[in-house]
């Protein structure tokens, strides 16, 4: 996992609520056995009229060259539905490192954190303010400080993240390294249960 600390970037707004993981990556693209290459199928059915990529839907935000950046800003209850981690992989592979929303579904949040994508939960009102910004506006996410700022404005908010997860992200560690270091405790736990 790539360490991550401060991200300053323009953002892509997707102001819809309840965006489920079937939209993020439809099931028919889950047949791969590796983690790579999912970015091209991110929001596949919202991006293209049909499967051969020949007819992009011009109104969909990812097809609008005016919007780009490492930050995706979405409406509440982002990532609900299926547990497919492919959703987080496709977001990362497309180039996003941060998703901002006023509410995240549980499993998606974990999956994002496990892949070095920061789910930043902001208040409903702050989300509105972000969405009103022009496409040239940039946001700064400072993980160490746990803050999100709309650059060149006074708008700033703090967000929560478990201190364990924060340390992992800042250093690029993952949970498996930690769990493996607990081998002795796990064996003792098993022993005691018998």
């Amino acid at each position: 996992m790539q360490p991550i600390d401060i991200i300053k970037s323009t953002f892509v707004p997707l102001p819809m609520e309840n965006i489920d993981t079937d939209q993020i990556i439809p099931a028919r693209f889950l047949k791969a056995t590796t983690r790579e290459g999912f970015g091209k199928n991110l929001f596949r059915d919202w991006r293209y009229e049909n499967d051969d990529e020949s007819t992009p839907r011009p109104h969909f935000i990812l097809n609008n060259p005016a919007y780009e950046g490492q930050i995706l800003v979405a409406g509440k209850n982002f990532g609900c539905g299926s547990s497919r981690e492919h959703a987080a992989w496709s977001i990362l592979d497309y180039g996003f490192r941060v998703v901002v929303s006023s509410f995240f579904a549980d499993i998606f949040k974990n999956n994002a954190l496990n892949n070095g994508v920061i789910p930043v939960t902001v208040s409903e009102s702050f989300l509105h303010i972000i969405l009103e910004q022009p496409e040239t506006a940039t946001l700064t996410i400072n993980l160490g400080e746990q803050s999100i700022t709309i650059d060149n404005t006074t708008q700033k908010e703090n967000f929560e993240i478990s201190s364990y997860k924060k340390t992992c992200l800042l250093n690029g560690y993952d949970d498996i390294d930690y769990l493996l270091s607990l081998k002795k405790e796990i064996l003792e736990f098993e022993e005691a249960r018998l």
């Binding site: 309840n18 079937d22 099931a27 981690e85 974990n110 201190s163 493996l180 796990i186 098993e190």
Partner: protein, 467 residues
Amino acid sequence: MPKTLFEKIWDKHVVKTMEDGPSVLYIDKHLIHEVTSPQAFKGIENRGLKVFRPQQVVATADHNVPTLNQHLPIKDELSRLQVQQLTENCKKHDIVLYGLGHPFQGIVHVIGPELGITQPGMTIVCGDSHTSTHGAFGSIAFGIGTSEVEMVFASQCLLQSKPKLMRINIEGTLDKGIVSKDIILYIIAQITTGGATGYAVEFAGSAIRDLSMEARMTICNMSIEMGARCGLIAPDEKTFEYIKGRQFAPSLQQWDKKLGEWKELYSDESAAFDKELTILAGAIEPMITYGTNPGLGISVNGHIPVTDTIMDEGERRNIVKALEYMGLKSGNSLLGMPVQHVFIGSCTNSRIEDLRLVASVVKGKRKSDHVEVMIVPGSQQVAAQVKAEGLDRIFEAAGFTIRQAGCSACLGMNEDKIPAGEYCISTSNRNFEGRQGAGARTLLASPLTAAAAALTGVVSDVREFIQ
């Protein structure tokens, strides 16, 4: 100190708790399938590891398998490779696999309980969000992502923060024609798809205790659709009776000891919940969804909300968008609306009781000519039972197609899909855009409501078909 059911199980599985951080939770059973496991196997292999506790892992192939001619090689190349990969991985890591052709194969959440693998007091995980199903036995069961599958492979543990606790009491008795699917669709319509996010939800009350084990599974199955980490129900005599004698149930020698432990699994009288609500079973009618998330449901004889009257802007926009996708109109009733497909299957409603319910409505009758009806048993064992009870003859006489076990048209991944623009009454759990195939329009309902639609070809109130 009084404890909730959830806490009793949780506390027994905590290996260690980090200060201001998650707990290390020990996992008793890990179920895997072909779609969410390959990257996890690769992950541990890249670290030079083997699966730590292979005897606690059970595998099956379900999401990506065809439901016709399962004895032949899978036609779609990517699907075939994915299933092959699972076979190789299981072999390499000494994991039991109930793959295609095995008499135990089936949807992972159907076979776990059916084989007696799922037991009270356990922690159970699977790389699939509907793992919550297993909570019907009084276990902590939840879906995980592939990185977490890898963690469990590596250590038989997961890092988890303790969720908040909610109890939903359903009191009273259900009217005729109303089943557990209606209860859970009703609850989700009330509290919305994010209403239980961050919570473990215990379902309790007299209406829950009256339900069979299979009906309870339907409720817990869909608890993820209101965002819950997991759903659970305290085990009782019905639970113990269900498990007894199954393939992997505790042996006779162990039975009494286990039973003693299981009988302790209930929420103590004064145990505290962060949130509690009560629902009256008598108020529930047959439910059906009109939108593109499982929370957008109404009673079958009700009306789609009038969008102009919805105050919350986000919600209004959402519903307008959903209706546009669904080709439906604000304020309309769904009764009498033609559907082209009926899908009876998925981990929500593909067990033998579900199929018996369907048979009870369609026996001696014939489906409407305007509708295709697909019945997909949840497992090979359910399929065998269907035959043994002669339900297959009822379905065939009704003009239904019976398929082989798998997830089938629940998720638009395998060959079974609903064509774009067409309507499908489905007993599955998700009506998201494109869930059953690009452009497909899904109306979620109970097996009874699905059976009624199969006969009439239109959305119908099943209460008119039962005495």
